[in-house]
């Protein structure tokens, strides 16, 4: 894994306009950054990222299997009791999932380490499946990168295929897509999935999460009062379960992508549970629940809220003192602790790998960079190649 500075394509901002990629710059700062790229060997991709990702994912599914049938763990994961049965049913029915992203720390010649699993509402999907693919094509066509270069990125192909599988599984006539208002990044991610659905000849419609209605038939509805048979929601399960419509989910015939059992995988309680289930696994970092913290011998720990996203409310503790912390709205639900493991540094940049899975299969990677040691929602996105 090396970082190679390069020239930006002169036309990329115009191209971004053409393709509707609107969030490449956020809050006046670059988000998409093609002033450099990362280069991996095929062996690094396959042996150090792809195979461990598949294995970690299977371990996570074993954790779901344990949690759904055990009240102790359902409590630990703060799944509201009203949803225990529905969550277990969704798992036993093997309701299909679309995608997830494992955040990994990659150091040359060492096993990758799992930082967390973004299994319910992962983003940076468009940048990964489509935009960095276009970047490589342009760079190869203009002779800046070797024709033999490849990329670990079969996301788009797999997304189209899996959306068709899910539609067929539920026999749904139309697939609805929803995200929250006022966020270009989420809207762009959902539009990309809609485009993938269209490419797979799946009827699809969009609505905002805030506009969802509830009908006398028990179905959730769109703004035209159409019943929603199947909804992709870029909105966390733990929010939905607590909100006004939450109790209506249980009896509703409306079906969901991601399925409800993903509430277990996107929960940070997964990390200490995995460490209990697979102690000393080479791809796991030691992790503890609050009450087990006494058994931690590490002097440097990362404290994470159960429900946090994009680095919010994470703090780094050294001998009990806060070294770094990130503000945010999470934390009232409790915390877990994970052994500190630094991201690799390339110059001033700390680099994190996102490893995608679609239909339980490894499907590609995304790379985020930050000057800070904890990557956040504004960390820059850089493309990669295999050579």
């Amino acid at each position: 894994m090396i970082r190679i500075p390069t020239q930006e394509r002169p036309h990329w901002r115009k191209q971004a306009d053409e393709y509707g990629f609107r969030f490449h710059t956020m809050y006046g700062q670059a988000y998409w950054d093609e002033t450099a790229y990362y280069q991996f060997t095929l062996q690094q991709i396959e042996q150090q990222i792809e195979d461990p990702s598949a294995e970690l994912h299977q371990m996570c599914l074993q954790a779901v299997d344990l949690v759904v049938s055990d009240e102790y763990w359902l409590n630990k994961f703060q799944i509201p009791e009203a949803f225990w049965q529905s969550t277990a049913d969704a798992w036993r029915d093997q309701t299909p999932s679309l995608y997830s992203r494992l955040d990994l720390v990659f150091h040359k010649d060492k096993p990758v380490k799992l930082l967390e699993n973004n299994a319910d509402t992962p983003t940076s999907l468009y940048e990964s499946g489509f935009w960095q693919w276009l970047w490589l094509e342009d760079m190869v066509n203009s002779g800046k990168i070797s024709k033999s270069a490849d990329q670990f990125n079969s996301l788009q192909e797999k997304l189209i295929a899996q959306l068709q599988v899910i539609q067929h599984w539920y026999k749904a006539d139309t697939l609805h897509f929803a995200c929250c208002q006022d966020t270009e990044e989420d809207r762009g991610t959902v539009q990309y999935l809609q485009d993938c659905a269209s490419a797979g000849n799946i009827n699809n419609r969009f609505l905002f999460i805030e506009d969802i209605g509830l009908a006398d038939t028990g179905y959730f509805t769109d703004l035209e009062d159409n019943a929603i048979a199947l909804l992709f929601k870029l909105y966390p399960w733990e929010f939905m379960m607590q909100e006004e419509f939450g109790s209506a989910i249980i009896e509703s015939p409306t079906q969901w992508i991601e399925p409800m059992w993903k509430a277990i995988l996107s929960n940070k309680a997964l990390l200490p549970l995995l460490w209990k289930m697979f102690p000393n696994h080479p791809n796991l970092l030691p992790a503890w629940f609050e009450e087990d913290l006494a058994s931690a011998s590490e002097s440097k720990l990362v404290k994470k809220p159960l429900f946090s996203r994009e680095g919010a409310n994470i703090s780094v503790l050294e001998n009990g003192e806060v070294q770094h912390s990130v503000d945010g709205p999470y934390g009232e639900e409790g915390f877990i602790y994970q052994s500190w493991y630094p991201l690799p540094k390339f110059g001033d940049n700390h680099t994190l790998i996102g490893s995608w899975l679609v239909d339980d299969q490894p499907a590609g990677i995304s790379i985020r960079e930050d000057i800070q040691p904890i990557t956040q929602d504004l960390s820059r996105y850089l493309p990669h190649i295999i050579l």
């Binding site: 509402t121 539009q191 209605g213 038939t217 048979a229 909105y235 006004e244 929602d377």
Partner: protein, 208 residues
């Protein structure tokens, strides 16, 4: 576990870039919505649908069902106005669909666009009250990959435009058509609560 993918490219083979282009669309949804759907290559799951090139064509073929032809035609025409690709200039539209193949479309706020003529429509379950009826377009432009093809509003290519029977998927289970929405806005409160923290005017997503 990954041996199958270990030979050959690690990336998607070929992306249909055009399908993901946004510039010509008047709204972000126009590619996606109301497109004709097909089952994923399951031959047992498809059934025949009929294609007509005009209202007269339908009524001539099916004289006993003139009224149903009319209703299906009007439904397809309305769908065409909503979902056809829209262009800012006649030249752009004709480049894609051929000369004299484009008409003016005016939306409610009075803006004018150019869109291709509906070249045909596809009907299934003609006798059902909730019959399936969708517009079809074709191109006569030698610059277009759609030349002499039946194209659905979603960009799906049904093949040669001389075909009068097309296979579309059997109806998947449709949720009840009549829903009375009794409450709206019951999702999203967590976001409102958490948004009061942090960035002032805007924020990034709730994904991770």
């Amino acid at each position: 576990m990954t041996t199958e993918t270990k030979s050959g490219a690690k990336r998607s083979r070929a992306l249909n870039r055009e399908q993901y282009r946004k510039q010509h669309q008047i709204k972000p949804l126009s590619v996606g919505i109301a497109s004709v759907f097909l089952a994923a290559a399951c031959s047992d799951n498809r059934q025949e649908a009929m294609v007509f090139t005009s209202l007269n064509d339908c009524q001539y073929q099916l004289p006993d069902y003139a009224e149903q032809c009319q209703m299906a035609y009007e439904k397809a025409l309305a769908e065409a106005a909503e979902t056809a690709p829209k262009y800012g200039s006649q030249a752009d539209c004709e480049h894609e669909f051929g000369s004299d193949q484009c008409v003016v479309y005016r939306n409610e706020s009075g803006n004018s666009w150019f869109m291709p003529l509906m070249a045909g429509y596809i009907i299934r379950d003609l006798l059902e009250p909730r019959r399936y009826s969708q517009p079809l377009f074709t191109s006569y432009s030698r610059y277009s990959p759609y030349r002499y093809r039946w194209i659905g509003a979603g960009g799906y290519d049904y093949g040669d435009f001389r075909k009068r029977e097309l296979k579309v998927s059997k109806s998947y289970t449709k949720p009840p058509a009549v829903n009375r929405t009794i409450n709206r806005g019951g999702f999203g409160s967590s976001v409102r609560a958490k948004s009061s923290w942090g960035k002032s005017s805007s924020r990034s997503g709730w994904g991770g």
